[in-house]
């Protein structure tokens, strides 16, 4: 591009002038993220702790809007030579980042080149696996990761005269929903992040492919496969629930949260990171159950996969800046910081030690259900179908899935039609991504 040709020169000029002025050894690095409100405050605390813990490096954290906006800002800035050193990217942007070889500095390479202490074995594989190569090399550092669980309003169940154990299968859930409905409950169940929970995680949990080529880990020529028997059955069931008034749709994101908080909805499938919101807002007794499954599907329950975001290191920074980045990433991986983050937010810890520390501190005993997510993720060694997803244009594909699922909830399409159509439309986007990336 005509504009871009002059960019490297400009970037180098800036770099040179910065280097000339800045005393060696100390570097200020930018960290762009998408954490808002309370999460932003917690993140700022971490950064402040890091900056206070040593005097060589300074991290400047900036919120750049929601996940999409942050990724856009990062990409636009890279094109202009103004990228931050660290960019928080949501999990669906993973393929986009991975395939931008000249734009990113993979974490394992960064650690190698800066000579920082780095022991990949301390990390929880179930969490980091999403962001590693097939050879097990870490590309980006998981920052906020969560997995879906089921929240239950115990009081609503009591009022409806339901005296049941925590449900483990969707059949158990169906019984509860029917009882709630019969007792006149208006919103027996709602969900957040429908595609992530009821298709992506559903597939991994039942050990069926979401896409071919090991869900995209194996190559760019992957094709969507989530219109299999198990997925159709589940979406069909939920569609029927929607028609019967047992499931009430709230929106594509976590809009259902306030309906659960207010007591309007009794069951709520949501990220484990929704814990802080439930705990702060719900004025009733609640339980957390593992995500339900179908016991007639072979291999279920396998393990669930994560959602959330990871930190990518951008290309084009100086050696000093990379030293600072390495120090910061290592700081984030320390047990104290991880345990604190995990307990404050409900996000998963990324190291085994942080998990152990949290348990030793008695957090799980004091807050029953908060370890469900981690148990559910690490119960079995991940298979090709349950390691995670690596699909290009995935944000748009999720949009398509959302659209098609909405048609099912509204009763306009059958599950089979909707999923078939989503696969077909999504494959077009995968092919377009393959074409743009594969040269």
């Amino acid at each position: 591009m005509r504009v871009r040709t002059s960019l490297p020169a400009a970037a180098i000029a800036t770099l040179v002038s910065t280097l000339a002025v800045a005393p060696a050894q100390s570097a200020e690095i930018e960290f762009w993220h998408a954490m808002s409100n309370r999460l932003n405050e917690l993140l700022d605390e971490q950064v402040a702790k890091f900056n206070a813990s040593q005097d060589e490096h300074t991290v400047v954290a900036t919120n750049k809007g929601n996940y999409s906006e942050t990724l856009n800002a990062g990409i636009a800035a890279f094109r202009a030579g103004e990228q931050p050193a660290i960019l928080q990217v949501f999990e669906v942007g993973t393929a986009t980042m991975m395939n931008a070889a000249g734009a990113i500095n993979p974490v394992y390479e960064l650690m190698e080149n800066t000579g920082a202490d780095f022991d990949p074995s301390i990390y929880l594989e179930a969490v980091t696996g999403y962001y590693t190569t097939t050879d097990g090399e870490m590309l980006s550092l998981p920052y906020n990761s969560s997995t879906p669980v089921l929240y239950i309003n115990n009081e609503a169940l009591e009022e409806a005269g339901i005296d049941a154990d925590l449900p483990t299968t969707w059949a158990d859930v169906d019984a509860i929903l029917t009882a709630l409905k019969d007792a006149g409950h208006e919103c027996p169940m709602t969900t957040a992040w429908q595609s992530w929970i009821h298709l992506e995680n559903f597939s991994a949990y039942h050990n069926v492919p979401f896409a071919t080529q090991a869900n995209g880990f194996g190559g760019l020529d992957t094709e969507l496969a989530f219109n299999g028997e198990a997925q159709i059955k589940h979406i069909d069931t939920m569609g029927a629930w929607a028609q019967d008034g047992k499931f009430s749709y709230s929106g594509r994101r976590n809009e259902g949260g306030s309906r659960f908080h207010s007591g309007e909805c009794a069951l709520f499938t949501e990220s484990s990171a929704g814990y802080a919101g439930v705990k702060a807002n719900a004025e009733f007794d609640f339980s957390i159950a593992a995500l339900p499954y179908y016991d007639d599907v072979e291999g279920a329950p396998q393990n669930t996969i994560i959602g959330g975001a990871s930190l990518w290191v951008m290309e084009g920074k100086s050696e000093d800046e990379y030293l600072a980045v390495a120090a910061f990433l290592n700081f984030l991986s320390t047990p104290d910081i991880q345990a604190q983050w995990h307990q404050d937010t409900g996000y998963l810890p990324i190291t085994m030690e942080a998990y152990e520390l949290t348990r030793r501190e008695g957090f799980y005993d004091a807050n029953p259900g908060t370890d469900i997510a981690i148990i559910q993720m690490t119960g079995k060694a991940p298979t090709d179908d349950s390691k995670g997803l690596r699909l290009g244009n995935f944000d748009q594909i999720r949009g398509i899935i959302d659209e098609e699922l909405e048609a099912v909830w509204a009763g306009d399409k059958s599950a089979e039609e909707a999923l078939g159509s989503a696969v077909e439309r999504g494959n077009e986007l995968l092919r377009r991504f393959e074409r743009a990336a594969g040269n």
Binding site: M1, G251, Q396, G399
Partner: protein
């Protein structure tokens, strides 16, 4: 125009237009050219590699039934916003024009929504209609109607139309009011003496005399609905549910920025530029005519 030109200088006019020309060239012509070039390319998001694909982006675009559907969505949206905001404004203007006492107060209270940013207008209406916390869904439920615009395309469209039209009523109101105040009182009084009813007077005298204003507002409102409602859509529906509120400007953003498909987004920009061109010519010719009128 020619008879108006009275000063002669070779360099002065150039000096006078220079600031605007420079700004226009740097921030308009250059980027617009870039957009046209990008529409023939398939770049990766980071701009690391780019391939020339000719018309492929356009083929892809027009092969996409959702893109074709966005034309219809845009048309429905624009016409509804225009019709709703103009009729509401006309009604209010007729009422405000007919009162003697307090018309200044009414006017003040009616024009200030003009100051609200589209993005903020979106936040306000979302706050009122959010299915879980909004006041209106609560009232509607009491009346036995389940409001859920995140699932129901018709309700989603209604909501973005209402929010967009609301913001534009003030502007239309001012123009209608001014237009009515310019109508000679004697004309109306004469008609009244002849025994014409208020409705008859409105239909046969006021409305025809307002027609230039109405046409002008029509163009302005369509342009507003096309482009400036981005913030409303972005905050309320983000184009959903399905793609039922995906208007063209929003799709440029959604595909380019959320989807990182810069080639397709650039091609959509080019299509929009063509549409804008046509609208500009329409507006320009019309205003040009009115000046001599």
């Amino acid at each position: 125009m020619a008879e108006r030109v009275v000063f002669r200088s070779v360099w002065l006019p150039w000096l006078l237009v220079a600031p605007q020309l420079i700004i226009t060239a740097v921030f308009f012509l250059w980027p617009a050219t870039e957009a046209i070039l990008q529409s023939t390319e398939l770049p990766d998001p980071f701009g690391l590699s780019t391939q020339f694909v000719g018309w492929d982006n356009f083929d892809y675009l027009f092969g996409d039934r959702y893109y074709r559907a966005s034309f219809l969505t845009t048309a429905i949206f624009s016409l509804s916003v225009t019709a709703l905001s103009m009729s509401m404004a006309l009604l209010l203007a007729v009422l405000a024009d007919s009162v003697v006492r307090g018309s200044g107060v009414y006017r003040t209270l009616l024009i200030w929504p003009y100051a609200v940013a589209p993005a903020i207008a979106g936040v306000m209406w979302l706050f009122m209609f959010q299915p879980s916390i909004g006041l209106f869904p609560y009232w509607l439920k009491v009346l036995g109607y389940e409001w859920n615009h995140v699932l129901n395309p018709g309700e989603a469209m209604s909501l973005v139309v209402i929010a967009s039209a609301w913001k534009q009523v003030s502007y239309n109101f001012l123009f209608f009011l001014a237009g009515m105040q310019a109508i000679p009182r004697s004309l109306l009084e004469a008609a009244a003496i002849d025994g014409a009813s208020p409705w008859h007077r409105f239909r046969t005298i006021v409305l025809p005399l307002l027609s230039p204003t109405t046409f002008f507002l029509l163009v302005i409102n369509v342009v507003y609905a096309f482009f400036e409602t981005f913030g409303v859509i972005h905050t309320i529906t983000a184009g959903g549910p399905g793609q039922s509120t995906m208007i063209m400007v929003y799709k440029v953003y959604a595909d380019g920025f959320v989807g990182q498909d810069l080639g397709s987004s650039a091609a959509q920009s080019v299509v929009l530029m063509l549409i804008v061109g046509v609208l500009t010519v329409v507006q320009f010719r019309f205003i040009e005519r009115r000046v001599h009128y």
